[in-house]
Amino acid sequence: MGVTKTYDEINAKIKEGKAVVVTAEEVIKIVQEKGLEKATEEIDVVTTATFGPMCSTGAFLNFGHADPPIRMSEILLNDVEAYGGLAAVDTYIGATAESKTQGALYGGAHVICDLIAGKEVELKAYSRGTDCYPRKEVKTYITKDSLNEAYLFNPRNSYQNYSAAINTSSKNLKTYMGTLLANKGNVNYCTSGALSPLFNDPTYRTIGVGTHIFLCGAEGYVAWQGTQFNSANERDENGIPYSPSGTLALIGDLKNMKSEYISPAVFDGYGVSMFVGVGIPIPILDIDMMKAVSIDNKDLFTNIIDYSVEKNDKPSLGLVSYEQLRSGSIELDGKSIKTAPITSMKKSREIANELKDWILKGSFVLQEPIKLFPQKSSLTGLEIREATKDEK
């Protein structure tokens, strides 16, 4: 079995400033040079990271009470609608909500990033008025410091693999994967490949509910499995899925986030999304864990999906490795096609290094998951149907 380490042992080393921490890219070369066994002995933590557009992102905010108080049922932040169906002064603002006045040029993602940047945000709220909350309207300005609580809660981040996108039709398509040029004019792809969190822990041994993470420059946690968590997908001999599989629901303190690790994204013809920076440390508990984090882009594959097919289940034109995608072009049916990423590798590396620094300084310790994710969870679609008889 060889060397094994516990979370307590690794955390003790972190606190003493003696832990050996490398990024998931750096570890590849170390394992090649020293071998799995030696690398397992020497390295304690491997940092993974990603910085890509993640639509299922948003923030819970609590405004505090005005005098007299209001039970807000309709809420606008810089003219972007936030949810008015919670308690009096609680709301959730989603990244993809669009401004009532500016449309897709400004959305929930911009509101969240303006708050993180310390900017003033206009709050307008309306209510029918109740005996306990008599006020019917407020118009004021808020900042992150004026809020009681402000935390990101993202129902689905950090996809474990994502399909690359192509367009076989004769007209350009504007999608959340960017503009896909007609007649297989380009291939766009996501994920940070060998640096991507769930590629490095494919069977969710260390990433589960409670895992301590880097979220947009602040500390955060894995709150739950992400929505559309699909662990039952086909996998290779290393347990790595060929198609979008595991996802993470993440939580983190908005007030401590840094603008450089989160940014609004506007996709031409699609709308608003958010670039989210995520970093997840992986403890090297044993040689199996070291084997998992030492995967390279040549070992990671994804499908090329045709976005011109207007169905949920789009056809695949075949598998391609992340090494091929990263090279800038791929061969398909004898034709060379340009490839381009949507996930920022530069930012992903910065995050992996930043998290590494936090751990080396002893300011960030690991948290063992308090609940592991299901290994065989699959998805259901939305059936369009009439009500069943006895419910009518």
């Binding site: 503009t179 380009n186 670039f275 590798m345």
Partner: protein
């Protein structure tokens, strides 16, 4: 969109009816500003070209396939590196290879000489960091 474009023809394609094709096949409005042909049958054509970005892009591809060199005389794009996140999405529509990610650190690089002024990158950029 409107661009000023300078075409230079090698001798063997001087007889190709380029202006006709640009109008007929790609629905471009062209206004010839200057035309010349030398003793080696090499030609040049300076003109204003107006049309949709898509048609413009396809026309460039057509010209390149015909072996014609197309130089845009255009304002150069500006990149705001404070808001750019180096995602690389702009490189996906940059047919001329002016926008590339550095193979070393994946930082966005702009090679001004290669830019043909199609401006497709401006709308594609998700952080709206590119302008003219």
């Amino acid at each position: 969109m409107k661009n000023k474009i300078l075409l230079t023809f090698p001798g063997d394609v001087t007889n190709t009816p380029i202006a006709y094709d640009l109008v007929k096949k790609y629905d471009l409005r062209i206004n010839i500003l200057r035309a010349s042909i030398n003793y080696n049958m090499k030609g040049s054509l300076l003109m204003d070209v107006e049309g949709t970005p898509e048609n413009m892009e396809n026309a460039i591809k057509y010209l390149q396939d015909e072996g014609i060199n197309a130089d845009f005389i255009h304002p150069i794009i500006k990149i705001d590196h404070d808001t750019c996140v180096d995602c690389g999405l702009c490189t996906s529509v940059c047919v001329s290879g002016a926008l590339i990610l550095s193979p070393d650190d994946f930082a966005l690089e702009f090679l001004q000489d290669k830019c043909v002024g199609c401006n497709l990158c401006i709308n594609v950029c998700p952080t709206k960091s590119i302008s003219i």
